[in-house]
Symmetry: C2
């Protein structure tokens, strides 16, 4: 086991303040596809793969989506999300946390259920140094809650997944962490309650990247 655990980070709601915009964009896209659902139900699926989200919500209202319909809903979501891009900010402490990890030579990576196309403008905000692995929906067979994204991130860092810490704001991040055998850490910045994240297996729950950075010693990451 390496001295310092590697840190694998989700993107939406973990580094960027983009979950609420995603929730409203999916609400609009699903309604255009004839699927009317309350925003809170959609909010609670953010962080899942887009395909799984659309399918599972369609099933919830007793619909089946054809491949063509699913593609239309996903395209409508991407469009509605893009329209809100200029309102999206980094979460407090995101830059500082990543800078601190880099300074300590802690290996870190980003792993998101989003497709590269929709994640690209958010990754531009994060502006990771060259060489940091970025794993998106396009790189794996199944996004979260399947373990593939966290596993791919650890593999790209050449670290054992069992010693990695997977940080995310949704229960899907934490379920994927359990399935991958990584230690899951939750953030409130995606709008879940702390108990929801704990129930999904979060070892610790912090408010946002700034709060995590302030308590990083609790994750066994030492300065020396």
């Amino acid at each position: 086991m390496p001295d310092r655990p590697a840190i694998l980070l989700d993107l939406d709601g973990t580094l960027t303040d983009s979950v609420y915009q995603h929730a409203l964009a999916w609400t609009k896209a699903l309604e255009l596809g004839g699927i009317k659902l309350s925003v809170w139900r959609i909010h609670r699926r953010i962080g899942m793969s887009g395909g799984l989200l659309a399918e599972s919500l369609a099933r919830e209202v007793g619909r089946e989506l054809s491949d063509k319909e699913a593609a239309q809903v996903k395209a409508a979501h991407a469009k509605a999300f893009r329209a809100q891009l200029r309102d999206i900010r980094l979460l407090p402490g995101a830059k500082e946390l990543l800078r601190h990890l880099t300074k300590l030579h802690v290996p870190w990576a980003i792993a998101t259920s989003g497709a590269l196309k929709s994640a690209a403008p958010l990754l531009k905000l994060v502006d990771p140094p060259a060489g940091v692995p970025i794993i998106t929906r396009d790189d794996v067979a199944h996004a979260k809650p399947n373990p593939d994204l966290w596993l791919a991130a650890a593999a790209r860092l050449s670290v054992p997944i069992e010693s990695a810490i997977a940080v995310g704001d949704s229960v899907w991040d934490l379920l994927a962490a359990r399935r991958a055998r990584a230690l899951g850490v939750g953030l409130l910045s995606g709008g879940y309650g702390a108990e929801e994240l704990q129930r999904a297996g979060a070892y610790q729950v912090y408010e946002d990247p700034a709060d995590l950075l302030g308590h990083i010693d609790e994750l066994g990451i030492r300065a020396e």
Copy 2:
């Protein structure tokens, strides 16, 4: 004590699916006022009086708002919220629940921390029968979490507050219910986790108005 408890209902997140739009509208308005806060922190203040929300969030980033600045932030919120009005729907079961209460001659009223001006288009969606008391921010000295709104609603129905059930989606509804000595019932449709609402004193937590209607006997409201 009357045979059947009166039902006092919050509006945003309880009857209408409007909490996420409020959260983004406040985020934008506060940013225009120089106060940058993550959306989830603002989401967790929705349901409070607008003035208290703006002041408490300004304090969180170490600012004091003058009366003029607070009025500007409130006006910017109202404008940003209005821009999203056409995307706002009733929550599932809202109409059916209210119709059922009316049919059973259960006295009911609506009590919202919102000002009449911003609540009016939402009340139009709800379309309550003539004679149902509607209490807004304009009718009381202090909105939630102060008890004034629930107390005024019970008074307008001429029922003792101690036998009334106050239904809301935020911890502020539930804190106000405790302070008013009403029984608090929580709904998940505003995006809180169930445990957050239970911790704030919810006697029961349901998903949304449809789920509450399906379990209305649990609140001691019988058909005969």
